[in-house]
Symmetry: C2
Subunit: 199 residues, 2 copies
């Protein structure tokens, strides 16, 4: 109803968009994480994009106006609704900002293709955690630890591994002091994790 700041809430495991839907607005995540994923007929799932607080979800709706793949809230989500009409009617920063975001997403996807195609389990998990650490803007907690609200199954569906193997990899990283696990919460100590170098 009110134009400037419509807010929408989603619960964990609730769909933000479903394939084929026409989209007339995009969301800016204010709080919580979301993902775009793909489900194979036999149940295998692969997450193709992660959306963190501050991200626009999904930029390409500006161009295509249609959702190709399902988008899911991975935690509770609070998002600002940004109607496409609003953006188009003010053809200044808004469009540019979003197109820039699209390029960012593309580059991140390219890097991820490299990881999935050519890197082993430890490298993939490390790179994911390093990327998330960087995107969260450095440390959150006072002790340089930042919180990852993902299930080990979720991580597995990002890095293309099984939950069991992700668990074993995380145990290795834990012994290296790179991550901590308190209850069901994953804490990452950023810095040392190797970001994906390439040429």
């Amino acid at each position: 109803m009110d134009l400037p700041t419509a807010i929408k809430h989603f619960r964990r495991q609730q769909h933000i968009a479903r394939p084929g839907e026409t989209r007339t607005a995009i969301y800016r995540l204010e709080e919580g994480w979301a993902c775009r994923y793909s489900l194979l007929p036999d149940g295998r799932r692969q997450i193709t994009v992660l959306y963190l607080p501050g991200d626009y979800c999904e930029p390409q709706w500006l161009l295509s106006g249609k959702a190709e793949l399902p988008v899911l809230a991975m935690t509770g989500v609070r998002a600002t609704v940004v109607p496409l009409a609003t953006i188009h009617s003010q053809p200044g920063d808004g469009v540019k900002r979003l197109l820039g975001d699209m390029v960012q997403v593309m580059e991140r996807q390219s890097r991820w293709i490299v990881s999935l195609g050519r890197k082993n389990a430890v490298e993939r998990v490390s790179e994911l955690l390093a990327d998330l650490y960087a995107r969260l803007g450095g440390a959150q907690g006072a002790d340089g630890l930042c919180t990852i609200p993902l299930t080990q199954r979720d991580i597995a569906d990002v890095v293309g591994l099984t939950p069991v193997h992700v668990n074993r990899v995380l145990q290795g990283l834990r012994q290296s002091g790179l991550v901590e696990i308190r209850g069901r919460t994953l804490l990452v100590r950023g810095e040392q994790l190797p970001l994906g170098a390439a040429a």
Copy 2:
């Protein structure tokens, strides 16, 4: 010099763009294939995008003006030079067409992430060949066969496998009648190959 149709040629294995370069024009491939790739310090290579005749290379230069990763001619290439200034000065179809292409590339990358993360060797190679067959616009030869000018090493660097294993997979597909190999040329019989279904 001449504005409307500047043409540029590249030989096989010649770089079309190198990382960090400023780009003031994009190319439209008239003939030949190209790819964007990433090289890890230890020599592992992963191809992230394939450009076929008719494709614009690379659309995101319109927005970023900079090459992030190297682009390589995989065969002899003849390309039309499209200066970015030309596109921006005629803000009609040109921009829209290119942005549409960008979305296409993004969706193809998403599908490829699914393949690399969740599919086995046979599925990946089949999907690649099916995708190429579709993008080449159906059959080229009179017999419903289309030609793939890629090395088995090139294919390996797309699907994230070793050349040796790609060879064994292709032999399986050959016995299934899905592909033919004449000398060093790969011929694909499209139709039956399963395109990546997802939901």
